[in-house]
């Protein structure tokens, strides 16, 4: 359920200069405002871009967070592929739709 918080944090980081400044100055304080599971907060901190993808973060948000954390485009794509290899298929969100549809 806290996938919402993870995505909200990334959304704000992508669009809001004030949030970006707080990320640079005190990331931990910023993180405390977004309730998330231990696994989610670890994935955000490291960052584990592949795990964030598996947890269900939308790519239209995630690609900008990956860029913020220094991932060139091809490395971003490879990080998601590696995430699926390590953590299994996408668990929630839009990209879990096929699995849900197929019951």
């Amino acid at each position: 359920m806290s996938l919402y918080s993870v995505q909200k944090l990334i959304y704000q980081l992508n669009r809001d200069p004030h949030t970006r400044q707080r990320y640079e100055e005190d990331f931990e304080a910023l993180l405390r405002e977004y309730p998330m599971t231990e696994e989610e907060s670890r994935a955000i901190r490291e960052p584990d871009i592949g795990l964030l993808y598996v947890l269900g973060v939308n790519g239209q948000l995630l690609m900008h967070y990956a860029a913020l954390r220094g991932y060139p485009w091809n490395d971003y794509l490879e990080a998601m592929r590696e995430g699926v290899r390590r953590h299994g298929p996408v668990r929630a969100g839009l990209y879990a739709m096929v699995e849900e549809t197929d019951g």
């Binding site: 919402y4 995505q7 909200k8 959304y11 992508n14 669009r15 993808y53 939308n58 790519g59 239209q60 948000l61 995630l62 690609m63 900008h64 860029a67 485009w73 794509l77 998601m80 592929r81 699926v84 839009l94 990209y95 739709m97 096929v98 549809t101």
Partner: protein
């Protein structure tokens, strides 16, 4: 008065941001198609450009997600993304709040739409503007259809939204050009980035240019996701343009599936009734 121009085009960020990955001749053909559209828009002498887009969490998020929204401001900033990533410098784009307000009032006679007096353009609008109004000298009125965060509006509502936009443009004295911008099949920003279902794209474009309303409205999201990826949800923007032109038919000027741009690059025109 009636729309003076209506068209559809792609907006993938790779078109500008990763342009160096595609051979120059291939890129030149796409640029020529955008140029042709720019010239057609200029020849129509519009007072404003109405852009039906599908933004990607630049302004709207799941805390308060409008199915449809129209921007009502005298200016907009863009791109919201890193300008180096998109290879489009950050700039200010003129709007027309007063005209937008009159259009919104007319649209509300037929369908419900949200409005926004703040709006930052992402690649979904900036990539088309980069080619179509490169001097940023034509007032832009942005309209958005939520194609990113389900639940999404059904495609028949997008057609109805387009019909309402067309009627609204008919009712004001200004000359308005309309473009819809989205992808057909694509899997952007996912491990499948670069995958394109050309057959599915061409079947959709055939239905679009024929303005085959029943065929266009037969798309559902489960099928679209399977055949066209989550990016395929953006067909709503093209379907809205089909609705806006009162059943008029169209022509595709350019279609080229470019894996490095992660989309079948499309430029086409819908004749205005």
């Amino acid at each position: 008065m009636s729309l003076v121009f209506a068209g559809v085009c792609s907006h993938a960020p790779g078109i500008t941001g990763r342009a160096d990955r595609v051979e120059p001749e291939r890129l030149a053909r796409l640029h020529a198609a955008y140029d042709r559209m720019r010239e057609a828009i200029e020849a129509a002498e519009p007072d404003a450009l109405l852009v039906v887009g599908a933004e990607h969490f630049a302004n709207f998020f799941m805390n308060n997600m409008p199915a449809y929204c129209i921007g009502m401001a005298d200016g907009f900033e863009g791109p919201i993304e890193d300008p180096d990533w998109l290879a489009i410098p950050r700039t200010t784009i003129p709007g027309n709040a007063e005209l937008a307000r009159r259009l919104i009032e007319r649209v509300l006679e037929h369908v419900d739409v949200a409005y926004a007096e703040e709006w930052k353009f992402d690649h979904g609008i900036m990539v088309p503007l980069n080619f179509l109004t490169p001097r940023y000298d034509l007032p832009v009125i942005p309209a958005n259809i939520n194609c990113q965060g389900p639940p999404l509006t059904p495609v028949h509502r997008s057609y109805a939204f387009g019909e309402a936009l067309g009627r609204a443009c008919d009712a004001v004295p200004e000359r308005i050009a309309l473009i819809g911008t989205g992808g057909i099949s694509h899997w952007p920003a996912t491990p499948d980035s670069g995958k394109i279902n050309e057959d599915w794209d061409r079947a959709f474009l055939d239905r679009l240019v024929a303005n085959d309303r029943d065929a266009l409205l037969s798309y559902n999201d489960a099928d679209t996701y399977r055949e066209g990826g989550q990016g395929g949800f953006e067909i709503r923007t093209f379907i809205a343009v089909a609705g806006a032109v009162g059943g008029a038919k169209g022509e595709i000027w350019h279609y080229d599936p470019v894996p490095d741009f992660a989309v079948g690059c499309t430029v086409g025109v819908m004749a205005t009734a």
